[in-house]
């Protein structure tokens, strides 16, 4: 059992991430709210409890790494990094704006706290394998987290990397699959069947843990279990695309579209209400 206050605090942080996602994408006039909202709880657990990192020292060699392989969820990552203190939260208002540093997709050269530039799907797990291997070479105990989109695993390179991670017995890599069931063109199972997801990964030599990706306790437990494994671990996080905003939940249309003004007001009021209830 986890401390109730901790759970509540991480839920609060997740809500805050969600608010910044909606706000920054609305202000940007473009971006990907759906897949950002689905990973808010996961990022909250990672950046505000699980990961060893230091916002004052973003390049700390011993830090845990995070590769957001589904780079289009950058609004959620930026929100987490800003809340953690890597840069002022005011900067989130400048997402995707000319001359500002928050690029549409994460750029490690421009944004403090971003461990790898991503955006072209399918590449992050390979990078994670390289980072995890570097830890082994240097006898360091940092962990490497890679957040994958489910649609992203259509890409063949993901499976090259999956084979590589187990070949090298990289027990310090934890991949989290944002299994929200939707990709741009439709339901993942209609576009290109991904099931049986867990058995595919097990066959590639990974341990697999299945959780509700919006349940803080389950996320924390899964990471602790993954830490004990002597294999690379995939956490299949069943999530809801657009989670937290009623009209975005399970909606295909908010994959890569910002809310209208009216929708923005409604979304923010829903999130504010959720915050009040949580603090209630």
């Amino acid at each position: 059992m986890h401390d109730k206050e901790l759970i509540k605090e991480l839920q609060r942080k997740a809500l805050l991430i969600r608010k910044y996602v909606v706000d920054s994408v609305y202000r940007a006039g473009s971006g990907h709210p759906g897949g950002s909202l689905s990973i808010a709880d996961i990022l909250s657990c990672l950046y505000f409890h699980e990961m060893r990192h230091d916002p004052k020292n973003p390049k700390w060699p011993d830090r845990d790494r995070l590769v957001l392989s589904k780079g289009h969820a950058s609004p959620a990552l930026y929100a987490a990094l800003a809340i953690a203190g890597y840069f002022p939260v005011e900067e989130l208002k400048n997402l995707r704006k000319t001359g500002h540093f928050l690029q549409g997709h994460p750029c490690m050269l421009k944004v403090p706290g971003v461990d790898m530039s991503t955006g072209s799907l399918g590449q992050g797990l390979s990078v994670g394998v390289g980072m995890a291997m570097a830890a082994k070479l240097d006898n360091k105990d940092y962990r490497v987290f890679v957040i994958l989109g489910d649609g992203e695993t259509d890409e063949g390179q993901v499976w090259e990397a999956a084979a590589s991670a187990s070949h090298y017995s990289l027990d310090n890599i934890i991949a989290i699959l944002d299994r929200n069931g939707l990709q741009i063109d439709g339901h993942t199972e209609e576009i290109l069947n991904l099931e049986p997801t867990q058995w595919r990964w097990r066959a590639f030599g990974w341990d697999v843990i299945e959780i509700d990706g919006h349940n803080i306790e389950e996320i924390l437990d899964a990471i602790h279990e993954a830490d004990k494994n002597d294999k690379p671990t995939l956490i299949i996080a069943y999530t809801i695309k657009g989670k937290g905003v009623s009209f975005m939940e399970g909606s295909l249309s908010f994959h890569g579209k910002p809310p209208s003004e009216e929708q923005y007001v409604k979304a923010m009021s829903e999130l504010n209400q959720a915050e009040e209830e949580l603090n209630g």
């Binding site: 060699p61 790494r65 590769v67 750029c107 490690m108 050269l109 461990d115 790898m116 530039s117 991503t118 955006g119 072209s120 590449q123 992050g124 797990l125 390979s126 990078v127 994670g128 394998v129 390289g130 980072m131 995890a132 291997m133 570097a134 830890a135 070479l137 240097d138 063949g156 390179q157 090259e160 990397a161 084979a163 590589s164 090298y168």
Partner: protein, 319 residues
Amino acid sequence: MVSAKITEKMRNLRDGYSSALIKLGYENEDIVVLDADLALSTKTKRFGTIFPDRFFDCGISEAHMMGMAAGLATCGKIAFASSFAVFATGRCYDQIRQSIAYPKLNVKIVATHAGISVGGDGASHQMLEDMALMRVLPNMRVIAPADAIEVEDVIPVIASEPGPFYVRMGRADAPVIFSRHNKFRVGKSKLLRKGGDITIISTGTVTAEALKAHDILKKDGIDARVIHMPTVKPVDRKAVIKAARETGAIVTCEEHSVIGGLGGAVSRAMSEEPVPMRRIGINDVFGESGDAMELVRKYGLSAESIAKNAKDMLKKKKE
């Protein structure tokens, strides 16, 4: 002037690569080497035998290899990633673009089996557009050494300069033209022959043919300047413009498509001060199977062909 001459001595550039890698491996623990199931052909396996912990044969998965190299580089490693030129560039262009060039990571892509002289394997394996692909990437620097000695000069330099590099070499043994090691500087050309009538600019192992072409032209009373341009990007613009001004005509030669490689880089450099120029290379066609040297001749990369083209340009200059 850098001393260079045609000798009987032949050496494989890949041997230069593996010896340079091993030397680096002893000197620097951060050197890691990746390959994609061609380690015996690229000769990275020799490094792997001595430093098994720092050698990763990724299997036949070039895309993953580039990503893994990038990940290692984010953690302070100097990653050399090798395969055949056709797979090391075209196969994983997007991985190089997104995961290496854009984040400016310390990955050195060293490709072998570039060019028509791959021979028997034919067009599928004869990479003729790799320099073009790598040249257009911001942050990427492109190098084609002339012989095994120069490879040994290039490898430690690119290891010590942060950021991505692409180095290409062929499969075949090539004449050793440099009798001793020279200081290699990224972006600096090497003047091998003085001359005022015309300039031959070459890169890679074709430079040996350029030197022979110089001698052929000499017999006809033509004084050709020969510039070896190991760095195709950034090209030595100063040397190109100086040659254009002083000799009034230029011939480039490379074992690569005439589009996007050395010829492209040189034409761009002199576009504001044009003089007659001809690009010798593969003329926008795929290769074919055959004997390496026969193919080099067939596709116009022999000394005789270079000399003939130089004479054409000389005529143009006088017109």
